[in-house]
Symmetry: C2
Subunit: 461 residues, 2 copies
């Protein structure tokens, strides 16, 4: 009995060893393919330079959908198709203008209307400014102090966070909820300090909450340098106080029919079980949407291309999903989750890549237990360590796949985590261009995600 047990143990150990060796060899093959024959960088160049900005509902978004479908077809995936989804159609209109009014001086400052916000009257808005650091301060000041004024949210990024996403997370309420909150106290407009640590001249746009039942007032992001200037002038010029003028002419047009673009390698053993990898195809209107999220969609298609190129036949179906409308509505993500439930698809995992195409650090697993993450680490960390993509932690996943949490029981949601330091330098600005993406950094992400998907497909959780 003892001998049998020992032999059994030896057999199991040796099977485990063989598995680990096979995994290690396949991961090396995946990296070689991505780093030697990678296609994501040149595809991204096309998306950025030949299509460019592709805000939901725009003609460019439609172009991007059609081109993306052709791209995936050219890779010879087993299925490529579109999923219909109605999306908001917000347009910025004419370029915004803004001034700090200091006595007779009008000092022009760079602003950009926040996504989904409303226009000012044609003649613009001129008002006194009240600077606040938080929603809480707004509440404390109340209507008496705020009515008739422009509220200026100016709490900066906290540089002490190591991951910049956390600074974004803690400063972001000003942009997302600030305008609607200020409207309740009778403010006539809102100016929000751009959500970045870098001191620059670009306003960083981004969505703000539309209050369906309340009043919506015009809201714009102001560059960090201009925010510092405005704040300094407010401190200096108490009587008569510096005022602010701004004009914007954005509009929310009727919803438009658009699409998620889906490519699939069909599973050999379980065609109706899925592992999804995706990013969002739409971008803000101000730039090329390179890191946000051109890199994410190009990486998602590349993951499938690489797996196919190395001759891997997945047990389960692997899907690349280019979600539409992450930036101002999440309609694509919601639709994908709805359809997955409707079609009774079993989803093993979904990975989102929407934090830029920078050097990978690892993956964060959403809402999993400590035991779960310990097991993932014990099984796979050593395999991923040589590729420096081995930070496997509990954390957020991504807005596009989040809706699956409710509709697809048992799916494990995973966020791809690249290095975060440079993301908010370009995020939602005209600087988010192809030239700011590094080929190798992008490709290491392609390979890292393909490797994780291979492991999930082979071994499950």
């Amino acid at each position: 009995m003892k001998k049998t047990f020992t032999l059994l143990c030896a057999a199991m150990l040796s099977a485990t060893f063989v598995h680990a060796q096979q995994d290690s060899l396949m991961i090396r093959k995946i990296y070689d393919e991505a780093l030697v024959n990678g296609k994501s960088y040149e595809s991204l160049r096309y998306l950025c330079k030949n299509i460019g900005q592709r805000i939901s509902g725009s003609a460019n978004a439609q172009k991007a959908v059609e081109w993306s479908k052709k791209l995936m077809e050219s890779y010879g995936f087993d299925k490529v198709y579109l999923q219909e989804v109605m999306v908001p159609h917000w347009v910025r209109g004419a370029k915004e203008t803004a001034f700090i009014i200091d006595g007779k001086n009008r000092i022009p400052v760079p602003i950009a209307a926040l996504g989904m916000t409303v226009a000012t009257p044609k003649e613009g808005i001129t008002a006194n400014v009240i600077e606040v650091q938080s929603l809480k301060e707004l509440e404390t000041l109340g209507e008496a102090a705020i009515k008739g004024k422009i509220v200026f949210f100016n709490r900066p990024f906290d540089p002490r966070f190591i991951e910049t996403g956390r600074a974004y997370g803690t400063a972001g309420d000003q942009r997302f909820m600030g305008p609607a909150a200020a409207a309740k106290y009778g403010a006539v407009g809102v100016i929000v300090r751009s959500l970045t640590e870098s001191l620059d001249d670009y306003p960083h746009t981004g969505a703000t909450l539309v209050d369906k039942d309340g009043k919506n007032i015009p809201a714009a992001a102001i560059s960090t340098k201009a925010a510092n200037k405005l704040s300094a002038m407010l401190k200096m010029r108490k009587f008569p106080a510096a005022k602010f003028y701004f004009k914007q002419s954005c509009q929310l047009l009727p919803d438009v029919l658009s699409y998620n673009v889906v490519g699939e390698l069909t599973g050999t053993a379980h065609p109706n079980k899925f592992i999804t990898v995706g990013g969002h195809l739409d971008s803000w209107d101000l730039a090329e949407g390179a890191h946000d999220d051109g890199t994410g969609v190009m990486q998602s298609a590349e993951v499938l291309r690489v797996l196919k190129a190395v001759g891997y036949h997945p047990k389960n179906s692997i899907r690349a999903v280019f979600f539409m409308n992450e930036e101002n509505g999440d309609k694509g993500g919601i639709k994908y989750a709805e359809l997955a439930a409707q079609n009774k698809e079993e989803h093993i995992a979904a990975i989102e890549t929407d934090e830029g195409g920078f050097t990978p650090r690892g993956f964060s697993f959403s809402d999993v237990s400590k035991d779960f993450i310990a097991k993932v680490n014990s099984n796979w960390k050593a395999l991923l360590e040589p590729y420096e993509v081995d930070q496997l932690t509990i954390g957020g996943a991504g807005a596009d796949i989040e809706p699956m949490k409710k509709t697809v029981p048992g799916v494990v949601l995973i966020g791809f985590r690249p290095d975060s330091q440079r993301y908010f330098d370009v995020h939602h600005t005209p600087n988010d261009v192809f030239e700011n993406v590094n080929k190798r950094e992008l490709e290491l992400g392609d390979a890292g995600m393909a490797a994780l998907i291979y492991l999930i497909d082979q071994h499950g959780f």
Copy 2:
């Protein structure tokens, strides 16, 4: 007895816990200081923009020495001084010219003389080109094939390495040893494919070996795009073969007196025991030497500034050393090692930062045992993990501190390891400018090194 032992254990455990907690708090303080009040980025801007290139022996190198000394004095370090060192004085002379000669066509291509190489005759060199992929192929071809020709080393970077430094390491022999080897077989000149994976129009310069006893022939780097073009033409145009012309007028002038710049926080308990952190102050002549190695020197000074600013009084003396002449002679590093031995200084550790000012990944410890690195990991990895600087491995340290290995017994040599993906995009080119350095990436390195030095100072190895 048992009870006493248990109590003793509890006391020890609790002391360990208190230590770990103190360490953790101090490291947090260090990061806060570096990220909130950091000075390295603005100092680097000055070095790059107000001084600029500072090749050994140049007037700019002397300016950099004087300014660096003042900078460290302004930080109020306990000692700031210069170490005299004689350095080579190589000058590029007039801008190089080069053409591929294809029948009547002369196609201009970007080249840059390799550091320490010799001039062509005034009229330049025109010759047939023989392309080789390695020193071994050169040897196989031998004198018959090579005599009278220009040897074109064209083995590209291997993209499959995850760390780009390894690709540099394996391709680098072509630049460093290729010209001297080709001269032995009667070549009249050497062209080396630039040491980078990126396809660009910049020649990447760098030192080549000077054969004191042999013949030295002119050698230059050619941009990767031009290298591809030249290689394609050589394949296409067999008869009559494409030729190559180049002209350069570099010179090696007599050695010049220069300096290492040293700043010190004197140890409270062991003033004659040292922990050194350093980079090199000299740069190539083609750019601002931002990542190579302006970031390294500015980080080294910042490590001491941060430790002082958080009120830390080190037990041992901590030195920032701006080494002179790493790029073409290592004379500063050699001198520092000589003086350390002469002055009977005990050195606990030396850290070099010369791989760019990118997001830190960790540290590599040179020539240590597996047990040593296991202990370092077991003691410190958990403390460094929240800051993502916890890859503690066996590996190389750096050319400036390497000479200490022979002269200072017991010193532990450590290399600071930032993310390597973008380094060779700019390395030794006009693109190595301040604008390509990210403030947060730089500062995270400042803090990471200060944290490690704090731990070494507190606990030793």
